[in-house]
Symmetry: none
Subunit: 214 residues, 4 copies
């Protein structure tokens, strides 16, 4: 007994340990550079056990993508309170997104860097998750548009493009904030919210968006 090297754990627990190790390894080394040896060692089990539970490197990676995608989605959903006005919801969603990715850098690396870089079947795997995020954002923006009585409605494709732009901007700012001393994560988030909500023109004319008194 003791966490040093417990044997004979129930399957579900062992599987999670393996996936933890896999996410960490894939996230840091990349899909191809990660070796099953390293994953098994990090998980504290033998290699055949990894194969017994997860079948192959490919399936293991797919499982990682699914797990991390769902976790991210849940985090964003949980961060948004349905009753708020549109800008408040967006602000809350972005904060949740930033928080989750900062706390799970390996998982985020798996989703953002690795899953896109290694072709099928991983791109498809990621696709279905992105569809869910887009649907969620679409809902948000759609609600905002109705709130503003926008007419005619934004096309779905435009919404997807906007979501892509938002995520890209968020990633870029996160990296910049990380690499630049004395730029806080909150400042970065505010910059993004301004950029996204008010647009450059409004910023040029000194009409920024104001964060809600939180």
């Amino acid at each position: 007994m003791g966490a040093v090297k417990s044997k004979r754990m129930p399957r579900a627990v062992r599987e999670q340990q393996m996936m933890d190790a896999a996410v960490r390894t894939f996230g840091q080394r990349g899909y191809r550079a990660a070796s099953m040896d390293e994953i098994a060692e990090l998980a504290g089990v033998s290699k055949p056990l990894v194969y017994l539970y997860l079948n192959s490197k490919e399936e293991l990676f797919s499982a990682c993508i699914r797990r991390e995608a769902n976790a991210l989605l849940e985090a964003v959903r949980a961060g948004v309170e349905p009753g708020l006005p549109a800008d408040g919801q967006l602000w809350a969603g972005l904060r949740a997104f930033f928080l989750h990715t900062a706390e799970n850098p390996d998982g985020w690396s798996v989703l953002h860097r690795q899953a896109r870089s290694h072709g099928e079947p991983f791109v498809s795997e990621l696709g279905s998750m992105r569809d869910e995020i887009v649907a969620f954002v679409t809902g948000l923006i759609g609600a905002a548009a109705r709130e503003a009585h926008r007419d005619p409605a934004l096309a779905d494709r435009d919404v997807v493009g906007l979501a892509q732009a938002l995520v890209g901007a968020a990633e870029s700012l996160a990296g910049w904030a990380n690499d630049t001393p004395d730029v806080s994560a909150k400042e970065a988030a505010a910059t993004l919210m301004n950029f996204a909500w008010a647009g450059l023109e409004n910023l040029m004319h000194a009409r920024p968006w104001q964060p809600p008194a939180a």
Copy 2:
């Protein structure tokens, strides 16, 4: 007819053929999955010749990153006409950017997907090119602010933050546009220009930015 298998070419020409093949292979397969065998065959030469001229897989990949990064930078610079007003310059730059990435999907894949996913030294290699783009965009936004006599002036740090956000959004959209059939470069540029210039709120209220009659 055509260069079926020309032999004894001068070194400079052969090197470009090899780099073409390498960009294509790296862009489609990824850095690790691409094999030197495949690159050599696609270039129509033997493997030792690739090593003789380009030394190693790592150096070859670095050379690809540099070549593609410079080409992209030149394309954007060439697309912007200095005399225009700020939004016109931004619009021109974005069009040039999305056009170039659409016309060089493998080169863009090398920069956006592969160089980021395979650790040092490639990330640094890419970083310096990205810094140049960010500096360029920073200049543009600063000019726009002066043009608008914004008061109080935007802090330098805010300008850089906005430029980071814009560049990140552009990168993300370019990947999306490349991966999504029937999204044209011009549409992507318009989506981003709207997003950046008008901001989401204006979009919600059906007050988008209008492209200049070109």
Copy 3:
């Protein structure tokens, strides 16, 4: 009958088989000319197993040097009986040395021919073993000097120099005896004993050292 192709052996046994094969191959072909393929085949295993257990060609060669050096050292130590007079001890040590090198020609080739010819880190590896032999011989000569009440006493440095000369002569003669058919280990030992003990001048005057009636 015989160990045609025994599978699933414990690691320690397999490692010895591999080292046997490696010593033989290195000794006959040389470090560079020996291929890991040949070693694996001679050991009756696949190449990856050799790497799994012994890591690299360099480490494998180093391990061979250490094993053979220790075996030789032990053989010489075991051959010398502490109670004898000085010339008897020297004679016994030389006999053991030449016998061992004659019985392990590949091991001796690894030590004498290959380890010296392929630079660091092998030369150092061998150096420490050689230092042990020299120290051993130094002790022997020192004992002989005390036994003879030599006065004035030999300087320590002179003793080490003599030991170096003796060891070098032995190494060289062993190589020669191994390469020359019909020169027995005992003859080689006698030649060296005469040379070392009586000196050329005494040989010239037909006053050789006499082996003890064994």
Copy 4:
């Protein structure tokens, strides 16, 4: 004109430049590790020229062995003055040997380390040269024996063994003197002469050989 990069040299001169480069490279890197590329570059010519003049790596190495063996032989012969008594001749020969090998470390490495370590045809190549050295030493020792009216004469095989022992002792002492601070080459030579001429027993009883007043 000038030694920087003279072109169109007569064949004999070019060949010597190549052999110089080859001896240096083979001596330092070893036969296998030396590459024709490195040799050609060090010689300041293109690789095809090396092949044009010297045909193959194997022939080039053989030619190096022959050249260096002859040079060593000549040096020793030139060092010995025929009229001297036996110990004086030996002393002179050893000095010439030490001097030549110290001044031509790469050539000595080719003969002593590399030629023996890489099998046929090099071992044979070296063999004929060793035969000449042995004949020379045999003559010397034979003269000494006649001088001493030794009877019965030493067998040829014994002479070869003694020569081997001498050379081995010399090499070992040379290495030791090089690695040990404040042991001069001359001291090493004296130690060897004592060891060889007087023998350990005489040394034990304080009857060393005396170097001739030079």
